[in-house]
């Protein structure tokens, strides 16, 4: 393998990993603060892709979809948190998990009822087709866009969490929600917002993945499993872990797909097995979130 081919595979892996990062990030954010494992996360990702396809068909602009979809899906997520998940806080970790699983089934079947089971077409946006010369190799413009958007979003999220007072409350809430509540913060509103942010990012990931991976009702199922693998590898509740592990899984997938195509689907599970044997908590996992 020549060096430029190596770089091409590496960047392809990063683009794929970006999707994993976005999905796992929302999952990890929600778990870190609410201790809810959102089994409907993949279905919100699917919802994002469908919402994107509809906005695109309606307005003809990918950029409007790019702005509207995260807000729309995030709002749906907040509604679900308020109505369905909230009554379950304090009743153990299994119940929200099972509830979101049921919610996911409803979303999956609801979408295929409205939009059909075959899926809808989703073309690469007009300004992002073709390839761009990165010096050593040509790289699809859309994938580069995907990597850049993910990087910008990560920076924005980091600034929000680390540099704003709202982010401070969120971080404090993840450490000890009871104390935060005693200090006079309305914690349930924080939870609502964080759930919305996590779901909104999942919706955005679905929209961004749509030109690469297609739009169909079951698209959320493999991505949920992939996000779980990323979360196990990176460590539950760790945002840094989600980013590092997401990119790692993406790159592993990309290289395996190049050398042993039939092993590509399995590669991430093998990676997960290795990580589990070496450090059961994941690469960046905290103690105490397991039980």
């Amino acid at each position: 393998m020549t060096f430029d081919l190596f770089l091409l595979q590496f960047f392809t892996g990063l683009a794929l990993g970006s999707i994993f990062v976005l999905v796992a990030l929302g999952l990890s954010l929600i778990f870190g603060l609410l201790t809810v494992v959102n089994f409907a996360h993949g279905q919100f990702y699917m919802l994002g892709a469908y919402a994107g396809a509809f906005v695109l068909a309606w307005t003809g602009s990918f950029w409007i979809a790019f702005l509207v979809v995260p807000l729309l899906v995030g709002a749906i997520g907040m509604l679900c948190e308020r109505v369905l998940v909230r009554p379950l806080y304090g009743r153990g970790i299994d119940y929200p998990l099972l509830l979101t699983f049921g919610l996911g089934l409803m979303l999956l079947d609801g979408v295929s009822m409205i939009a059909g089971t075959e899926g809808v077409p989703f073309d690469t946006p007009a300004g992002l087709t073709g390839a761009v010369n990165l010096g050593l190799f040509y790289f699809p413009k859309y994938r580069l866009f995907l990597i850049v958007v993910t990087a910008l979003l990560l920076i924005a999220l980091w600034l929000f969490l680390e540099k704003t007072s709202y982010g401070l409350i969120i971080r404090a809430g993840a450490l000890d929600s009871e104390i935060v509540q005693i200090l006079g913060v309305n914690i349930s509103r924080i939870w609502l917002v964080v759930f919305g942010i996590g779901i909104g990012i999942a919706g955005l990931a679905g929209l961004l993945a749509a030109p690469m991976r297609g739009v169909f009702p079951e698209m959320g199922i493999p991505v949920l499993v992939e996000a779980f693998v990323v979360t196990v590898v990176g460590g539950m509740g760790s945002l840094v872990g989600a980013v590092v592990a997401g990119l790692l899984v993406g790159v592993t997938y990309s290289f395996t797909a190049f050398y042993f195509p039939q092993m590509a689907q399995l590669s991430m599970f093998i990676l997960m097995g290795v990580v589990l044997v070496l450090c059961p908590r994941g690469l960046f996992g905290r103690a105490g979130v397991l039980g």
């Binding site: 009743r91 089934l105 009822m113 499993v225 997960m272 044997v277 059961p280």
Partner: protein, 337 residues
Amino acid sequence: MNSPVDPARLSISVPAAAPVRTRLKGLVEISTEHRVVLALAFLVIFPWFAPYEALAVNILVFGLFAVGYNLIYGYTGMLSFGHAALFGLGAYGAGIPIAKFGWHVLPALGLGILVAGAGAAMIGWFATRTRGIYFAMVTLAAAQVVYYIAFQWVAMTGGEDGLRGVNVGVVNLLGLHLNLLDPRTKYYAILLVVGLALWAFSRILQSPFGAVLEAVRENERRAAACGYNVRRVRLLAFTLSGLFSGLAGALYGIHLSVVPIETLHYFTSATVLMMTLLGGMGTFFGPFVGAFTYLLLADVVTVITVHWQLFVGGLFVFLILFFPRGIWGSLMHWAER
């Protein structure tokens, strides 16, 4: 569940109500003591009022699967999202020797159980390194691995089309010729196997090991302090659960005479979890009640609409929000109060 009590009635009829309660408690005790006999008595007369035999066999098979699942979720408190792999390994493990090598049904059943048990031991070895939520994720991921392997190994498993030709027909059992093409004979043959499995399951629950399982569920640290190797207990429970699930899967393949790839799909894991929840986890009869209710409901709903997942999902949400003990669990709770 809190049943509303009329205070006026309560003040007058306390002495009269007490014997009723005692009698109910007695009934519960008797039903616990003779649980295997009771379950079998019901299942023996069941085909006479089931809509059709195939559904009755489905209820048997999924009832057994849910019983096996309950061992891990209800009794040991580990939420597994990968039991489809164990069910499917049993189905393929018994189906492939029958379809490809013309084995007799009994050794094939045995092989199916063994394959599922070995698979459970392997998955469990990884998964029991983790706890709680991680356990659910790791088992789900492991089940996907099995799914992909079966999907791609077309020569053995038939891939996407499923494994065809798991035909049993007439079985020679110690000189007794059983025609498994006759639905009722098939039901009773499968019932015999399920009955034996239920008896074994009941023995496991009664054994000291069964008590250790519940101890691990209730207080892991204390169980560890009592000298139990918690991880090994969990691994053993998962493997045992795999044996029961694998037997259910093997019977399922023989019942359908094909093994659809969907047996390995993660929806199968969800279905068995759903049945266990619906009936009441951690109770002996609950999983059967759940499988029975679920399959009857699904049977009715699929006649009305193809969008039965919407219905199943809604039922899931409803159960979790309002009815977390399940049908049998709520009944038991009410009777024991």
